[in-house]
């Protein structure tokens, strides 16, 4: 089977598993929980196979394009971390891997209801943004081992942050008593905006496909809605979004009833939030910041040039450093810490996607 077959199967299984985890939260039947885990594992296997096949395909491609390269070099240059699609795909893979580890370690299946949606959002983003899934030749700047380690470790770090985000959201919902609590308002606005942007990008994608213009989706960002040339549609987009965010805020707490009485203990959630950051932070520091700087130095001669991508990864790093100090030294726990962890993940998403979509960065992924 081809890589994309395996990929599509894994996508399907993940979405089913997400539904199963969520209904487990609702019905609390052990059978559903086992089924959810089983489906996730099956999806994960298929996902792993899709990446392996893709690696093999890229390898064939690379060897035929550059027959002079050595065995190890050919393997590294064809590792499936070569463009936006592959890196996001790897993010989802690592996220699921973390999720399975935690499920196994904490013997707690409820977290799936919060981590799988993060994976699903990333998968939806891949499709909605219309990014290329083709195997493409590597441009010269990307032919670097440092870059490869950089991407590899950063994304494992991002996946850990993704888990902490899921756990922090679950935590906030669990401890919130009333909709007027500020941490809850904050959390629901963040999630509301995520969803609005995702939906708006979906509309971009659909209208652009329908109009069959050759325009790049990236330059079309939000032009079907918020930046529509018709002022009416733009204003309507804002109003509808506002209503949508309000609805997320209004009905988000409904989940709380569902959560109550579950094995989802708020201390466990707080602990998972912290632990994932404690794993993600060193990985992100070494992979994301340090190796990124080494790569920049070997390719451009400056380890730091305040390029928007670099700066945003530094911002992300600061936010998580604040989280760790606030928690370990200043003794912040619970809601305040959960909010910091949510801000941290917003910074992650912006570092990775926002910079390319919203700011005109020099970073290579942005232009390819």
């Amino acid at each position: 089977m081809s890589s994309s077959n395996f990929y599509n199967i894994s996508n399907l299984l993940y979405f089913i598993a997400m539904a199963a985890y969520i209904s487990y939260v609702g019905f609390k039947t052990r059978g559903i929980a086992l089924a959810a885990s089983g489906i996730t594992i099956a999806g994960f296997i298929s996902h792993t196979l899709s990446m392996a096949v893709r690696w093999a395909d890229s390898h064939v491609f690379w060897v035929s394009a550059v027959p002079t390269s050595g065995t190890v070099e050919a393997l590294l240059r064809s590792a499936p971390l070569r463009n936006l699609f592959e890196s996001l795909n790897f993010f989802v893979w690592a996220l699921i891997a973390f999720h399975l580890i935690i499920e196994f370690k904490y013997k707690n299946r409820s977290l799936g209801a919060f981590v799988l949606p993060v994976a699903a959002l990333a998968l939806a983003f891949i499709d909605v943004s219309g990014m290329s899934k083709e195997i493409e030749p590597l441009v010269p700047a990307l032919q670097s081992n440092w870059l490869l380690f950089h991407v590899f470790l950063s994304f494992i770090g991002y996946a850990a942050f993704g888990v902490s985000f899921g756990a922090a959201v679950a935590y906030l919902i669990t401890v919130t008593e009333s909709r007027n609590e500020k941490p809850y308002i904050f959390g629901s606005i963040v999630i509301g905006i995520f969803l609005v942007v995702l939906i708006a990008m979906g509309i971009d994608f659909l209208t652009l496909t329908a109009s069959q213009r050759g325009e790049l989706l990236q330059s079309y960002f939000l032009k079907a809605t918020f930046k529509n040339s018709s002022g009416l549609i733009a204003v309507a987009s804002y109003i509808i979004s506002l209503a949508f965010v309000a609805a997320v805020w209004r009905f988000g707490l409904g989940l709380k009833k569902v959560l109550e009485g579950l094995a989802l203990n708020k201390n466990t959630l707080d602990e998972i939030t912290y632990k994932s950051i404690a794993v993600g932070f060193p990985l992100f520091t070494i992979g994301g910041v340090i190796m990124g700087a080494i790569w920049a130095n070997s390719a451009w001669g400056t380890y730091w040039s305040w390029d928007p991508k670099e700066t945003w990864s530094l911002i992300t790093w600061f936010v998580y450093a604040v989280y760790l100090h606030a928690r370990l030294v200043a003794g912040w726990k619970g809601k305040k810490a959960a909010i910091l962890s949510i801000i941290g993940f917003v910074a992650v998403i912006f570092t990775y996607l926002g910079v390319n979509l919203v700011l005109s960065g020099l970073h290579s992924y942005g232009s390819s």
């Binding site: 493409e136 010269p140 932070f281 060193p282 700087a293 001669g301 530094l314 936010v319």
Partner: protein, 493 residues
């Protein structure tokens, strides 16, 4: 007076030793950094951006405000630097402030504890083991040693206590991380003071003794650098660049001392100065007085550049040929005389008319037209494409390979000298080690009290760990169960 001085000193010290200040400064750094990623950091782009966002009319006023606020070259502004200084001082003072206490903890040996104190520890367990005190003692001694503890022993009436600690120096991991951050600032300062960033555009075949910084300042090198050739290679059957490379030569005292093909991600370093492959382009701008021959395929410079060919008679020896536009050569032993008559940097075929034409002025698909004259036969002209070996063989089986039209491109090098980079790399290694220690290693202390009872021993075990309590709990449980298994000769359960 002296007291007062001291008070001010302590007030300032305490301010900088506070983690609250650290949180505020870090968040300020994060928030202000955003400004520079949104507002373009170059004057003309910033004006364009502001005109876009705020409208043509308001842009100048906002621009002036931004200049006053240093938003345009933000990361080098005095206030951003001030924030960085605040951050470093904070980090330094905070670490120094905490260090004596941590050092004290590290240096303090563990002492035996009372029964109640053990029960109050972070982790504590109580079990009974059937067997004599001596047997149980030996059992714990073995298992503690197996767990790399070095147990000390205290004896009291009716009870024996083992106590031990390991990994106490891991408490310093945090300070190693902090130190590495300060070291990065040191490295950056050293680079700023003693280094430079510049560029050098070298046409193929030319030599330079100096480079220019981005402010236009000339920096003289104490050696010469020459570009032998520049070349972009493409992936097969596509116009996607596979590599940008140039051959550079370092010349000192008239002698070649180094030669290297540099490519992206693989620069050349000589005497602390590094040359990175950054860009490339047409070298014509460097030769303003050149004449051109206008052909159907573009403008061909006359007298500049050389065609490099490899020529071989059928089955015979290959031979390199270099010649200028319009010059002739022969294929040895064949009586063939050939002349370079035309050139296209990017030869393509129009799919509709089938005609050949030049589709780009970059060297995407260089081709040379050569007129071939064989004694007693009519002359004909053929195109030889650099990227298509199929075009190299002429009737009779002779070969004319088009290698390149040399001398028309320049290589764009980024040149930098950064003596601070080694400090940065050292700091990165230190930070990596420090992070590992800070997050994944732990200072563990353990106490095991054995109380002799009739035919059995009551065991009170407890301890504390700075990290990963769950794993530590498992470690203690495993010591307990292994010992009781060994002593009782069967599983405790």
């Amino acid at each position: 007076m002296k007291d007062k001085d001291n008070n001010i000193f302590y007030a300032v010290w305490n301010l900088f030793a506070s983690i609250k200040l650290a949180i505020v400064v870090l968040l300020l750094l994060a928030v202000t950094s955003i400004v520079g990623t949104v507002v373009p950091q170059e004057a003309d782009k910033a004006i364009e951006f502001l005109a876009d966002v705020a409208g043509e009319n308001n842009a100048p006023a906002i621009y002036n405000l931004f200049v006053t606020l240093d938003f345009i070259d933000m990361y080098h502004s005095w206030w951003f630097k001030l924030l960085l200084v605040l951050f470093s001082v904070n980090l330094l003072v905070c670490s120094l402030d905490k260090l004596p206490r941590i050092w004290h903890i590290i240096q303090t040996p563990v002492h035996p504890l009372g029964e109640q104190a053990i029960k109050n520890l972070q982790v504590s367990r109580e079990i009974k083991i059937k067997g004599s005190l001596q047997e149980v003692k030996d059992g714990f001694l073995n298992n503690l040693k197996a767990g790399r503890y070095i147990p000390l022993e205290a004896t009291d009436a009716g009870s024996v206590q083992f106590y031990s600690q390991k990994g106490r120096y891991t408490r310093l991991g945090v300070y190693v991380v902090h130190l590495s951050i300060l070291l990065i600032f040191v490295g950056a300062l050293v680079g700023f003071q003693f280094g430079f960033d510049g560029q050098l555009n070298l046409p193929e075949g030319t030599t330079s003794s100096s480079v220019y910084t981005f402010d236009g300042e000339r920096i003289d090198l104490d050696f010469l650098i020459r570009c032998n050739w520049y070349e972009t290679t493409y992936y097969k059957e596509s116009f996607r660049p596979q590599e940008f490379e140039s051959e550079l030569v370092i010349i000192e005292d008239g002698k070649e001392v180094m030669r290297k093909i540099v490519e992206v991600n693989d620069p050349l370093t000589y005497k602390g100065i590094t040359f990175y492959q950054a860009n490339y382009g047409s070298a014509l701008q460097f030769y303003p007085n050149i004449n051109f021959y206008q052909s159907n395929y573009g403008k061909i410079p006359v007298g500049l550049g050389e065609f490099i060919l490899k020529v071989a008679p059928a089955g015979g020896q290959e031979q390199a040929v270099r010649l200028k536009f319009g010059e002739a050569f022969d294929i040895p032993g064949t009586g063939i005389k050939a002349t370079v008559v035309d050139f296209s940097p990017a030869l393509g075929r129009d799919p509709r008319s089938g005609n050949l034409y030049t589709f780009d002025d970059q060297m995407l698909n260089p081709a040379v037209a050569i007129e071939i004259k064989e004694e007693g036969k009519n002359a004909y002209t053929g195109w030889f494409l650099k990227r298509d070996p199929g075009t190299w063989i002429i009737p009779g089986g002779h070969k004319i390979e088009f290698v390149e039209f040399w001398g028309l491109e320049y290589t764009g090098l980024q040149v930098s000298k950064d003596p601070g980079v080694w400090i940065i790399y050292l700091a990165c290694i230190i930070m990596t080690l420090g992070l590992y220690v800070a997050f994944f290693m732990s200072h563990k202390r353990i106490w095991i009290m054995l109380l002799n009872e009739k035919n059995s021993v009551r065991v009170l075990a407890g301890g504390s760990a700075t990290k990963n309590r769950l794993a530590f709990e498992q470690e203690i449980e495993s010591i307990l169960s292994k010992t009781s298994e060994a002593v009782e000769g069967r599983s405790r359960k």
